[in-house]
């Protein structure tokens, strides 16, 4: 199962990493998530998800350069791996195929 299925929040995090391109590190991901979803993204949760994604090798990470900010501690930047991209695309396709078979009237008026 591992590596094939994406949880809802995992997918969001993965998408955010992809969106942030070169600036994807934990705090920035949290902020971006909050901005787009409108719900509070706790660092603890995001951190755990990042760790899990890396375990599933959907993302990879490297440490940046030291700066005087953050008490001199380096940032860990994330980027989406090939497997991650495949998983994202697959998730999107699943959704779209489902959207396509919904008769138009069924969801009308709910927007």
């Amino acid at each position: 199962m591992k590596g094939t299925n994406l949880g809802e929040f995992e997918e969001l995090v993965l998408l955010t990493i992809a969106a942030l391109v070169n600036e994807a590190y934990s705090v920035a991901i949290c902020d971006e998530l909050e901005k787009h979803t409108g719900r509070a993204a706790k660092l603890g949760v995001v951190h755990a998800v990042l760790n899990r994604l890396e375990e599933k090798s959907l993302v990879k990470s490297h440490l940046g350069d030291a700066t005087s900010a953050r008490g001199g501690k380096r940032k860990r930047y994330y980027e989406v791996t090939h497997a991650g991209k495949v998983a994202l695309v697959k998730a999107k396709e699943v959704r779209e195929s489902l959207w396509n078979i919904i008769p138009g009237f069924n969801l009308e008026g709910s927007l």
Partner: protein, 887 residues
Amino acid sequence: MNRIDPSESRTNLPKMPGPPRWAQRLLEWYCRPDLLEDLQGDLNEYFDRNRTTKGDRKARWIYCLDVLKFFRPYTIRKPDFINLLIHWIMLGSYLKTSRRSLVRNKLFSLINIVGLAVSMSVGLLVISFVADILAYDDFHEKKDRIFRVITTFKTPEQPQVDLASTSVKIGKQLRQTVSGIEEVTILRNGFGGDARVGEATIPLGGLWADASFFRVFTFPLLEGNPATALKNPYSLVLTEKTAKKLFGEVDPLGKTVRLDTLTYTVTGLLKDVPKLSHIQFDALASFSTAESLFARQDPNFYGWDNIWQNYVYMVLPESTRPESVLRSLTGFNKAENSRITNRTVSVSLQPLREASLGPKLHNAIGPTMIPLVVWVLIGLAMVIILSACFNYTNLSIARSLRRSREVGVRKIMGALKSHVLGQFLAESILIALLALVVSLGLFLFLRTQFLALDPFIDNLVSLEFSGRVIGSFILLALVVGLIAGVLPALFFSRIKPVLVLRDSSTLKIFRRVTLRKTLIILQYTFSLIFITTTLIGYAQYRSFLTFDLGFTTENILNINLKGNKGTVLANELRQIPGVVEVSKSLLVTSLGSIGGTTMKYKNSQDSALVWLNTVDEHYLPIHRHKLLAGTNFTRHPKTAQEESEIIVNEQVLKRFNIAKQNPQKALGEQVVVDKKKLTIVGVLKDFHYGTMENKIEPHMFRYFTDEAGGYLNVKVATTDLPATLASVEEAWRTVDKVHPMEAKFYDDQIEEAYRQFSIMIRIIGFVAVLAVCIAFLGLLGMVVFTTETRLKEISIRKVLGASEGGLVYLLSRNFLGLLLLAAFVALPATYLFFDQVVLVNFAYHRPIGLTELMIGVLIVMMPAFLMIVSQTLKAARKNPANVLKSE
């Protein structure tokens, strides 16, 4: 190794205070190294952000919370096996250096080991005591589900009485009307007497118990059927020991035993009752016997307020919560109390374990230990043990100079901080284990002393070893080693090797002086508190014994009549040359046993409880009670119906305002007691009836007609006491051949009445002596060390012309200051404690004397003072040439 990160310290220092250090450390400690840096950075970023938006405090708080929240399986560092392995490999080296340092400093090792051993032996005693108390009633299979019905009795006039006993009625009602109870059993005390089998007569004590007894409690039957053994009237179940006494080796089942006029059949043989059981008995008789015996005589046998002799225990099924039973009990309380006037009887539930360790209840069926006593004992042991730990801590840190080089070399060879920490903890634990061996020997000695302190303690506990107890002993040693060693170990682990090896004098051994001073002050404060407590307690105890009770107790021998009629024996005794006079009384007062009944005067609505003793006409002269007015009993009726006279004390006049409290005019007035009109023939000066805890209250003497029971009070005046006592015993044997005579001098009985008090004093006194000794040892170590370290300084001062007296003053000044400070803390604390907490419980007590406080100070301070002066003098007298030469 100490890794210093210069960039970090430089960026952090000049700014505002950063996140809490301990939280940062915690994170560093638990977090996996590959995740650590990023995580620290994230938290720092959030911290900075929070500081600007939410303020400094909040930001720090959130930081701490986050650090704790990140403690998750995926962030935790895997244990460092290499490190553990190194510890294991190095263990031999640690042991070797520890042994060497122990042998090199014999005085300090001795102080440490002796101090720890002595204090731990007290700890061992308390552990085994507490273990025994907690093991009470452990053998019952359903122990967690057994509950007891307890009772509260209240009248408008008296404070409420809490009882372990209850009514038969509640037992029956629970059994019949309340569902969800597995089993109910009713017990009744007072079964017993002289059991006769053929020619043999043996006194027997036990309980009445009904047929469900064996379904509630786990007392295994060796013979007989547990379901039916206690069913029929006149059935008797014996313990093995009793059976052996009565029948020898013969199988007792089916045999008969005569008690008084009744014949019982033995229906069961029990294994002996374990010592740690709150229910103790020689024999059980079926409850149906008690019902057939008493229910006819006593119309109130099944009454709601007949709560003095019966015990009700129940087993609840696992699914039932005690609250549901409690609800039905509250229902019974309400319904039944509406039917009785002038008093309320309320029942509630108590789990089985509180029967042995719980609140003090009257009519307790077995020994009860109140939790406070247990806590006090634990507290005393803790103080003593901590005191010995302080010694270790103090001496180790003080002597760190000697071992800092070793640590320096170890660190240079590659030892990490944690290795040094481990080494010194291992050393202190090793010493604690050594001390444990010594303390085991001391414990065996202490145990016999403790058990011999009082028969109550001997009955209560056995203090035997068990696996659990021995495990706790070892645990205690480990904990003691950790507590004693943690500060020195931390101290050594922080030593910077480069500095130490270059110049050992840079080591700041005097940096922790405040800590060491505080520890010494603490030790001496506790020692002083204990000593003064002992002295004050002892002074009070003496004053209780010599207190003027308002009558004399001198040379009066009280003989328990054990149910015999007293007249014959009294006449026999009067024939003995050494006996002056003999009187008879129902009670021996001022010992704590009391009895009273209600009295009414003219107003039939106004009744009050008046304490009572029934005596004969010789009682007042023998005890030299002072009559304010009137006479002794003038009529000596033979039966209770003819009784017509009463003698009262001043308090009775005051309570009922009889004749405006004028003793002369009160004579001839009539009061109603037990529905009888009695005339006051004498008024006595107030005297003490209860113990020192009770105020003097209304009291009356009634005439003791020729009934069985009570006591004989024999006034003895003889030069040959043993001979007189022998003839008294001979006279006893002509009257009662079964029971051994039980005679005690009144003064001895008073001493016994305050026995609990004296036991407490002895225990605290013992602890006080230990505390003083341990504190003394610690101080000795410190003084020796300080003078040794300053020997060179002293020599130079001497060369430059300092006098010996001046040097002694210089060296001892600090220590004496500490002792004085300790005295300033301890003395007011003790005084307030006694004045506000202890002595308020005693209606009559002598004021706290300053002498006791001063003597306490002297006992503690004198040895310390002498030791300080002698040690410093020794140092001051050293020849400076020798000291300075041997560089």
